[in-house]
């Protein structure tokens, strides 16, 4: 898995390339922690290059979302592939984390909420 940070107004986009799975959990956690350390309140996980999310990956999304909410922050998901979206829907992830189909909407939604 590879990640790249891109600052946006009031937050950061984390581009993720690779699978969000048990095997990649430490890489994902480190990348998210690095973002938190920098004080970003809105984390947008950009997922078009994520082909698969396993049960561990779903748990990581849930705990990251919970941790951001504890500090009045927010996590959003951007452009998941249809198969990944299906997996996340089965686990009801969209009930916890908003999913957007374009970057402008994801960025604007937090600005409106803030």
């Amino acid at each position: 898995m590879q990640t790249r940070e891109r600052p946006v107004p009031n937050g950061v986009i984390l581009d993720i390339v690779g699978d969000l799975t048990y095997a990649n959990r430490e890489l994902f956690k480190s990348a998210v922690e690095a973002v938190r350390q920098k004080g970003y309140r809105h984390l947008i996980l950009n997922m078009p290059e994520v082909r698969f999310v396993d049960s561990s990956g779903l748990g990581l999304l849930a705990i990251v979302s919970q941790n951001f909410k504890l500090t009045q922050g927010r996590v959003s998901l951007l452009k998941p592939q249809s198969y990944v979206r299906e997996i996340m829907t089965l686990a009801n992830i969209p009930k916890l984390i908003p999913v957007y189909d374009n970057e402008q909407d994801a960025v604007a939604a937090y600005q409106m909420a803030a």
Binding site: S55, G59, K95
Partner: protein, 406 residues
Amino acid sequence: MPSSSAQSDASSGSTAGATPSTVLVVDDEPVSRASMAARLKRLGYRVLQAGEGKTGLELLRRERPELTILDWMMPEMDGPSFCELVRQDSAIQSSQILMMTGHDRPEEIAEGLARGADDFLSKAASGQEITARVQAGLRTAMLIRRLEHATDEIRRKQDVLEQELQSAAQYVKSLLPPAGMLLPGLELAHAYRPSLALGGDLFNVLRWDNDQIGLYLLDASGHGVAPALRSAGLSTFLRGGGLRHQPGSRDPGGILTEANKQFPLTEEGTYFTIIFARFDLKARTLSFASAGHSGAFLHHSSGGVTWLKNSSLPLGFCVPNIYETIHLPVPLSPGDRLYLFSDGVYEVPAPSGEMWGQERFAQTVLESGELPMADVIARTVERAAQWLGHDQFPDDVALMGIELTA
């Protein structure tokens, strides 16, 4: 004349208090052998001597010298044959062998190395070169011994760990209910195959009284020791006294609502999915609640199927959260079978990568409906293994069925 005698000379080490390294000299030529032994003793090594290969091998097995200096040309067993025997013997195959030869032809050196020697020493070598090659051989021998000791230690610790894992696995299996009659008119069968020694899937039946049972199947995310311990903890909670004192403790939704408070997500993001059902034998009614678990259906004796599905979050994803109890509208009939299962039984990839899938899994169960339930379960797991191409499932496999027999 080759000497068949073996001599063991211990000389004092070059460093006071340190155990000197041992060098075995195998040479049929007495003068050459004595000369080499004397030189080595002057350098502070303990020296063993053998006048032919057979005795040399015996000394090598018994004394395990750090280095063997071996003559190529010997009657009966020459140096390369000696090396081959050493490399075939697991007790001494890592021995360091320095082969002495009167020639230094490249093809001869290549043959010696190919047959098991580690290094070469010309019989015409200077004292300085002999010392340097012996020291190099001993350095290698020390590194190999350290590696062997470390490997032995790792193996020993691994054995202890595996024994402990086996004990823990036995404990987890002891939590599973025995197959057979649950109550008069109600039979249980199941299959359980953890992907590692310890599994994170668990299921059980709670006999609340003569008419009511609770049954559940839970799946902890991840594999191995930590999920297995967490599963055992949740299983204990579901079985134990905590529920009895909760209002509505026999209500599946109430039970999962309480479990959701008690078992939050861990910092690693691990969690449970679970389905909890209640069956009333007298009224023959079934109700259930699910926390992110989609693996359960009722196979009616008439041939129909009712899936037990309810869109819900896994335990710990949102606290607090209310889990709803769903009541099946039609009572069960004799011959109806309820199957609870984990995703490990159908998320099974073929060698091509194609998943077996929930549909093929359900079809296998349904088409075997005429068989006894235990055979249906065994056959279904066997079919999954056939799809996989082997029987080492990538995820834990749990499949439990109860049948209303009368």
